[in-house]
């Protein structure tokens, strides 16, 4: 096989917001699958907030990407050649293939996708990791009850757009916070959130949130952290639940960020707060996929893919996503050789 693989490696550990020079595009011949391996030509690559943390050294929930190594991430594509009995040439598969056009894989963590059921890109979104993050975070941690108010930060992003819609399906008032007026228009007018506000330029988040959540906040799904979250915690009702999914406002901080001490408020309100990673729910993935697929079919869930074309644009698309440029799920579409 003489095709060329194009892959992005980590060139430097970013200081603050990553820049394109922190990545390096490398070309290499596509290898032949060894015994037990498959060769996949990627059609879509996912860029997600968690990747920012994987670029940093030091302890986290997963090992950092090493300098000179392939950037990590999920992708979906077609099997070009297989020496693994579980996969056949032509299968569509989803796996943790990294930022590249072609991947060799031993098949671990790779799942087959039926392209007739839904567009294959949904395996990276509603019917993939971000969808499961929203589903289990809402259903298992926020535990919404009809008539309650759920607030979600990062509401215009891949996970947040789904969170608010699931809250609506459960009979809640869904309120979202995002970083552009366009996103607020999208979540309220296209997705059916009850209310939302653009956090940029807002001085008094408590006042703004109180206005949109007049009965207080019964559950809070947090993708962002920082001052928005400080305000939300001050408005929690007794017995509220907080699902900590991400803290994207903190990822580019070079030093430990300071804020008001919040724990006393958790006592007075008897709050349950839980940090989670979607992989905790791995054993229940099928339940989540089945339910999300059903809501999709019933027209209860809408989604928007924010697609950037070309492997060469992966770093800029990723950096833009961290800055909040995307509405819905940002994906890289590849024109594979």
């Amino acid at each position: 096989m003489s095709t060329t693989n194009r892959l992005w490696t980590l060139a430097a550990r970013p200081q603050g917001m990553p820049k394109e020079a922190d990545f390096k595009l490398v070309e290499a011949p596509v290898g032949e699958p060894g015994e037990g391996e498959i060769l996949v030509r990627l059609e879509y690559i996912s860029v997600d907030p968690y990747m920012r943390r994987r670029m940093m050294d030091g302890p986290s929930y997963a090992d950092p990407v090493q300098l000179g190594q392939l950037m990590v991430g999920a992708g979906v594509g077609k099997v070009l050649a297989s020496r693994n009995p579980k996969f056949a040439e032509g299968d569509t598969v989803e796996g943790f293939f990294g930022w590249q056009t072609h991947a060799l894989s031993n098949g671990r963590g790779v799942r087959k996708i039926d392209p007739k059921l839904a567009p294959v890109s949904t395996a990276l979104y509603v019917l993939g990791m971000p969808g499961m993050t929203a589903y289990f975070g809402v259903m298992d941690i926020c535990k919404p009850q009809a008539g309650e108010t759920m607030l979600v930060s990062g509401a215009g992003g891949a996970v947040g757009t789904l969170v608010g819609q699931i809250a609506k399906i459960q009979g809640c008032r869904a309120v979202g916070i995002a970083g552009t007026d366009e996103k607020i228009d999208y979540i309220v007018n296209d997705l059916g959130f009850d209310a939302g506000y653009n956090y940029r330029g807002v001085k008094d988040h408590v006042a703004r949130q109180r206005e949109l959540c007049p009965d207080g906040i019964d559950s809070y799904f947090d993708n962002v952290g920082g001052e928005i979250t400080d305000a939300a915690i001050s408005l929690l009702n007794v017995g509220a639940r907080v699902a900590l999914c991400g803290q994207i406002s903190q990822y580019n901080e070079e030093s430990q960020s300071q804020g008001p001490r919040l724990l006393w408020q958790l006592i007075t309100k008897q709050v349950k707060m839980e940090g989670f990673l979607v992989y905790q729910f791995a054993s229940r993935w099928k339940e989540g996929l089945t339910q999300m697929a059903q809501w999709l079919q019933e027209g209860k869930l809408k989604y928007h893919e924010d697609i950037v074309e070309g492997i060469e644009n992966t770093p800029s698309a990723f950096i833009g996503m961290l800055a909040g440029d995307n509405v819905g799920k940002r994906l890289i579409k590849l024109h594979a050789a």
Copy 2:
């Protein structure tokens, strides 16, 4: 009835640590019980950290004590006269009677105590609110598993001394943090904690806690908050549980205290953190009392009462407790008229 009641009212809202002048001792004739009421002569009054918050104005989980009003708190005593069919003269009762020598009560929230089962003072401690706080906080929130490490702050106080002993009964390594060497000696050598340290003068709490919790922290029972808690959170293991019971280090702060933002760590470690008030578990009080009484009888639980005599010493005893003078449960013993 011509006896005189002596009662402490709130004279001023404290700035920082309360001082004796924030309270006023008042004398008043003891009243006659009206229809449905009982008259109780108090034998013991409890002083507890939560009272500091009740002295402050502003929103909390319970209404503040108003200036000129009786200071709140639990007590145990004998019924002198009853016009309530549920209580008879001579009954020993526990209730929220306030800082006074004699109380009129309509009987709501008042329970009868059998003085033959245990010393009546235990109704304010192991077999009362602090005991139930330790029991439900450990069993329902910390959810200890044999072989795990449980850390408790405020370990020399009423709740903390019980928390560590319950952790030991559950097969855990119990590590305590307290504010005097005497308390550390007591919890380790008398109560059987595995280790402990005196936080005063310690600069690097992370290093100290890591030394005493070499396998990390699986559950943390927090009475204190502040820097001790910042350190504990950094040492939590994946899947750890945090029971937020109190934040005594913060109660005398006049302005919102700042600290490092902790929420990202809760995500990476998939931590469940829960703020609780013992009254959440009111419907299961009997279960808790039965279990604690059984452990007492089996000799698995020890307790120490730190007794100050005389109603006139209540404010100073309370202030001393806030400063950490007590080992175990501080009680006021009254020589009732």
